[in-house]
Structure formats: C-alpha cells, structure tokens
Amino acid sequence: MIAPKIKKKTADVNGLTPKDYASDQDIRWCPGCGDYSILKQVQSVLPEFGLPREKTVFISGIGCSSRYPYYMNTYGMHGIHGRAIAIASGVKATNPELDVWVITGDGDSLSIGGNHLIHGLRKNFDLNILLFNNEIYGLTKGQYSPTSPTGKVTKSTPFGSVDTPFNPVALALGAEGSFVARGIDRNPVQLRDILKAAHAHKGASLVEVYQNCNVFNDKAFDLFTNKETKDDHVINLETGKPLTFGGGTRGIILDGFTPQAVDLEKVSENDCWIHDPSDKIKASILARFFDYTVVRGDLPRPFGIFYQHERPTYEEVLVQQIKDHSHEKADLDTLLSGANPWEIK
C-alpha cells in the first residue's frame, strides 16, 4: 500500500490554532526553561502547514526536551535514550505521508544517540529534527554534555571537563545533512522562520536550537542573547544578503578560504560575503564560526539556515523501488511454491 504524497493545504483549511496543538498535560519543565519558547514556536507554526492534526507525529528520546511529545495534541512517542531518529525512520518508512518531527537534546542525539543522528542525516528520511542544545545534562541534574566547552566544571567534572565539544552544525554537514540550521530560544521570530523552512524541506532537517537551561547551565548562551553583547556576537543568515552584524557596522569578507570580520566603514557592504545556503563549502566555513581560536578576528556566531540542498529522501526511493517492481506479479501461492515444486500423490 503506497500512500500518495499529501498536498499541503493552506492555513485556514484545517482551521486549527496553536492552542489546538497543546495537550491537556501539565508541562513539567522548570519555570524559565528555554524549552517553553521552542514548544510555543512549534505550536504556532504547525497550523500554517494546513495538515490534519492526525498526520503529525512527534518522536523523542530521553532528556528534559524529550518530554515534548506529551505536551502536543498530535500523535507522539516518548522513546528511549538516543533512539528517536531510529524510531522516526520506521514511522516514516511505513507511512511516508506523515509529518514526522524528532525532538532531541545534545546528550540524546550527540552522545548516546550519535550513531542514529549521523546515519539519519545521511539516509535522509524526511524528518524535522529539533536538537535542543543546552550544553548540559539537565534531567540527570547537571553533568557536562558533548557540547559543553572544554574545562566546564559540572557535578561529574569538578576539575573541569577534558574533552573537546562537538560543533553540531559542522557535524551535521559532515554527516551529509541536507538541511542544517541553528536557532535560539530567545529569538522566536527567527526560530519560526527556520521551523517553517525545515518543514518545507524534503529530507532530514537538522535544526540546532540553543536552549537555556536556567537551572544547571544558566546563561550558557548569554553572549548571544544579552543586549550588551549580542550585536557583536550574533550574525543572522539571510539568503542572498551580505553577512553583516554589529548593527550594520561590521561585515564578513572571505579572504581566500579565510573569513574575516571587517569594519564596514573601511570595507563596502558590497564586498561582503553573500549568504548562499546551497553552497556547501561556504556552509562548512560558516559552520567553523564556532571555534574562535582557529580563525582570524572575532567571528560572530551565525544563526539561520547554513545549508539546504534537496536530494531524494530515503522513503521516496524505498517507495519508488516498490513501484518499479509493481508490474511483477505478486502471487503469494507462486512465492510459496518457489521455482521447483513437486507433487506427491
């Protein structure tokens, strides 16, 4: 049975509001947690997709963020630690017409579930993967995570963590992700735009969302949210527009392969790097605006869509292969008898 690709309807067709997507369950996140904002942004964009509510499903792993499906009045599964993408792959393979969302965290998808993340991106099932990155283990009450900066002092690393953190965007690009973006809980407008683009993208969309854990890792992303600092440290990526920041006073130029932050009083905006998310090499360079030490100048942290390029999704090809063979007779009795049956009388 092959489901036809559903035509996306307009917002008013299903007549749902963000509230209709909220379940009756009390939300158990700590007050002030960044998760609330992300939940809200997703609930507010869903009606715009015009899909019947039953076609939407949220699959999560384990962690604070993974409680998410219980708060959505759609189909949902709260899975096991790290395995949400694997579960979602099976859902999508069996019913490709579903709108499948994966909710995961930095521990869930980059540590215990790292294998499923990289292979999920590579296989390119049409999943919307929201990676809530708070650079800490919240649910287990404060151990360092694979995105915590080196030297991070936590319960499990009283003398500072030893390991180098993952750069999730670079990892996703390296894993052949076909849509890679970064958002932040405190910029809801941008986050909603990213969510819409991720949903529209056919293929695995990885959206890393910086999410403040005000209990165990407060202000981890302060640099990017604090009024005092954010202008100098945030650069918002807009397709076709020059990379500028600092309230329009600074820009990014590419000197060979090396990005440099420049003063727009000295360099013209026209000479700045124009953002093109279809360019994977440039996306890879942008992804490196992360480790300040390896590039010259103080590079701001990019937010927005780094890379987007559609290629056939896994389920598309899976279904196509079945279609390609659908003209062959599928007679169960012939299958059971095999090529060389014989009769005993």
Binding site: I59, G76, A86, I87, G90, K92, H325
Partner: protein, 621 residues
Amino acid sequence: MQKIVEKTLTKSDEVVILFAGDSGDGIQLTGGQFTETVELFGNDISTFPNYPADIRAPIGTLSGVSGFQLKFGCVEVFTPGDKYDVLVVMNAAALKVNLANLKTGGVIIANLSGFDAKNLKLAKYIDNENPLTDHSLDGYKVHAIDITKMTREALKESSLGMKEIDRCKNMFVLGFVYWMFSQKPDNTIRFIRDKFKKKPEVAEANITALKTGYHFGDTSETFTSRFQVKAAKLPPGRYRNINGNQAVALALVAAARRNDLDLFYASYPITPASDILHELSKHKNFGVKTFQAEDEIAAACAAIGSSFAGGLAATGSSGPGIALKGEALGLAVILELPMVIVNVQRGGPSTGLPTKTEQADLMQAMFGRHGEAPMPVLAVASPKDCFDTVYEASRIAVEHMTPVLVLSDGYIANGAEPWRFPASEDLPEIKKPPLPDNGKAFREDAYLPYIRDENEVRPWVPVGTEKYEHRIGGLEKELLTGNVSYDPENHERMVAIRARKTEQIAGDIPQQTINRGTEGADLCVLSWGSTYGAIETAVRDLVDEGVPVAHVHLRYINPFPSNLEKLLRTFRKVIIPEMNRGQLSVMIRDRFLIDARTVSKMKGLPFTVDEIKEAIQNELP
C-alpha cells in the same frame, strides 16, 4: 578376456552422504542437485551446507573445505544425519577434515588428482604420506577415481578451455553418485540446460561429464555395489525445498500479504541471520520494505516506529544483536505494540562461534530485559517449521498487541528439507484488534490508548488515524490514558496487567501434544528448538523397539501450553537435552517443581541420534 562383474544392489532405508571439496569445486551445487533429484523421486531428505569459516581460505587447505551434507530415506528424515555412509572428497584436505565422521566400513569416493603431492602437502599429510595408498583407509571401501583425467578425456572434443573443462568435474562425480544410488540424471540435465541457456557449449560439456560419470559406474569393473533407497511415504501434496531463514522470510511476507499489512523488516547484518534480510529484500513486488539499519538498536527501534505507524514490523538478529536490542524490546513491551523479533542463535557468549549452532539464548529471550518485561517466546523446530512458527508469532503479536520473540538457530537457518507448502487461502487470518468506536474509548474527546479487552489487549491505532491522536512512551503509564504516572499503586497494577496479558495467550494456543510415544511412559524427552530432529529420530527408533519413552516438543515457551504441567506429570521421569547448560530445565523446575534432568551439549554441534539414545538408555532401568 573380459571379466563379467555381477553388480549387486543394496537396499537401505536411509543414507547419509557428504560431498566435500574446495569452495571452488561446486560442492553446494552438486549437493543441491542430488537433493532435487531424490526429492522428485519421492525421498524425504534433510540437508546442511558447511561453508569454510574463513571468507577466502587458500585453495586446497584444510580451512578451505566446503561441504554439503544430506540424509535421504524412504522413511521420515528429521536431521541431515550424524555419521556418513558415503564420503565424496575432491581433494586430500576434504578427506582429512571429514574422515572422522565416516561410518566404519563406509564408502569413500576420492578424486585421485586431488591427492597429488601438492594437495597432500596443503592438507598437511606428513611427508606427503598418501592415505589412498598407505592402507590407513583399509577399514573403508575406497574408490579412487581419476576424475580430472576422465573428465578431460570425455571433453577432449569440446571447444572449452582447460580451466572450464576442469570445472565440469563435479558433474562427473554427481553422475557417478546418481548411478551408485540408482537415480536418473534427467533432472540435472534439465537444470544444466536451463542454467547455461546462453552458453550451449558449457551446458553440453557439463551434461557430457554428468553422463560420463554415470556410465563409468556401469562399465567400470571396480564397482560392484549400488544402493537403492525407495521412495518415502510422504503425505500427498505439493512440496518444495526450503531452508530455515527462507521460511522465516516467507512467513513474514505471507502474514503481511494474507492480512493486508505492510511488512517492514529492519535488521543489521549478522551471521547467521543475514539471509532473512537478503531474502526479504528481493520481494519488492510484494511491497516488502526492508531497512538495513546502522546498528542493531536502530533496527529494533525502526521496527517499533513502523509498528506505531501500523506496519507489520519485524527485526532479526543473533544473540549479540538481541542483547543490543534489549532496551528497545523493553520499550516495545511497555508500549504494547506488535512486532516479531527473530533470534537465529549461534555459539556464545560474545562473538563466540558465529558459524556454529547453540541454543543458549533461552534465558535471554525470557528474561534478558530490564524490569518486569514479559514477552511471548516461540521456538522453531526445523527449517520448514520456521514458516508456521513465524506466521503464528505474527498472529500472536498482532492479536495480542505485543512483541513476540522467535528462537531459531544456525543449524535450522541453513539446514533445508522438503516442505509441504500451504495454499495461501489456507493461511489463518490474523485479526487486528478493532478500532474502538464506542464512547468508552474517549474521555472528553481524548482517545484512551490503553483501554483493554478481557485479555488485556489494547486496540492498534496507527499514527495518522483521525480523531485518535494519542501519545505513548517508555515512562510508566496511567491505566487508561497512557499519561505518565509515578503512582505506586498504578505501577504495580500495570506490571500485573502486562504479566497477565502474556499469560492470557495460553488460552489462544493449542494444547501440548506428544510427538512420539504415549502419555505415562517411563521417560519423557522434553525438547525445544533444533534438537527436535535428533530426538524425534532417536525416540522413534526406540519406541519401535518397544522402549517406554516419549517425545514432547515445545513450540510455545512463553507462555507454556496450559496442559503442559499435567502432561509432564504423567511421566515417571523427564530429561531435557539442550545445547546449553540446562535453561529449559530451569524453567520447568521453577514453574512446575518437576525434577527435569538436563542433558547438555556445548560443542557448537547438534546432538547426534546416538547421543540422545544413550541419554535415554541411561535413564531407563
């Protein structure tokens, strides 16, 4: 003056043959053809291929020996046999590896050119000592034939090159063996014509070699005896040959097709289960979706996802992989979603003996999950039994909304036998728990995913079903709503419900019957899994001799059939032969306080019939 040689005909009930040679000698094909021919003739047969353990072992070496073992007979055949009556060896290494299993006085057919100095050295015969000439084989009937030379001679007119001509050797051997067992080569001639349709010279060369081998038996003076094995009295019907892994795959396709379900099989390559994935991935025209996952865990989780979306989901592996899937199987238990998990067991622990058989994962199947996580467990008895058992597992999974674990093993997976296949219309219907439409299933418009029927079975509502949106998860759930609940009373109640749910299946499976012998016999041999064949053969022989023994074989291990205890209590003693240290015995003792005695074998090899007979005799006065 020509000597007239009288050719005698020995009649046998059953004969065990091993074809052995280098991987390049076409041994599997030779054995396969012999199998087809005697099957068409009407014999019962059981076969087992033996591939070299190393992927690319050097030619002529001991580790490169490939074998094809078969037992065929005019009586019911349950195993590929223990010791060989006839050993066909293409080179010295094949003889050395397999001689120990040849019956005293058995027949050796040896390819003379495979015993030249080079081959003897590769086979590590000291100082090139040649077993064919040093009288070490005096206790056997040895026929050393210069197969290479005679094949070349027969094909000297052929346009083929020497390499291709030499490749026809196996057909010479097959022709000769056909003669020896009074079988006609016609089926193989048809097979060769078909296989080499596009290469008529190759076809003709093979047919010539086959016929030359056949006539060689007739004309050669050395061979005085032929065997005859009459056709067996098999129940009438249509038959085919099938191995265990194929039968698992076909059962899944059949269960899905017959019941309008979308089959989804997720698996990670592992010996000896990979062939299930290979077989299923061929059947795209049946809409079968296969998924080679990035690891064992992903395979189990993807199957859970598929089931949530309404697919008939299955995953297969062997012990180490099942261990990795353990956490996900716990999730499947608490979610109460249907899926089939097949464990094709192999020697363990750890990587253990990947190509050898064992049945030491019973405890893992029963208890190898965290928490109280009851799961129905079924075990297959033989290659053809894989079909019925896996179909039945699919039925239980769907009708009882539960993961079901099926235990197979390497011996069954690769072993093959004739199978009287069913007509598709005779396959049982699998009844999906219906979509609830009454008000009871809803509370204030919210669907209650964990309402249950009298057997604790909840409805199966696939993602995408309008008005039934619901959430499920791995956290303990509230009775009806499925919402997270940490309430102590609720947890205890849920644990009890999940246990009862599995127990209730006992009311939906057949009563345990006796395979051989009668109720109340002095001794019961209780078995599960692939020990079936050896035990059935041994008990049949002994019952025929009047020994008071019976055989009871289990397909259903969790739950046990409801009459099992009563049945077992009728016997004076119970023994349980297992290829483990006594895992079923632990269960039988625990459940019934019946003092079952374990007969253990842990060699990566199945029990022989003699070993079972001996174990039985030891228990009887």
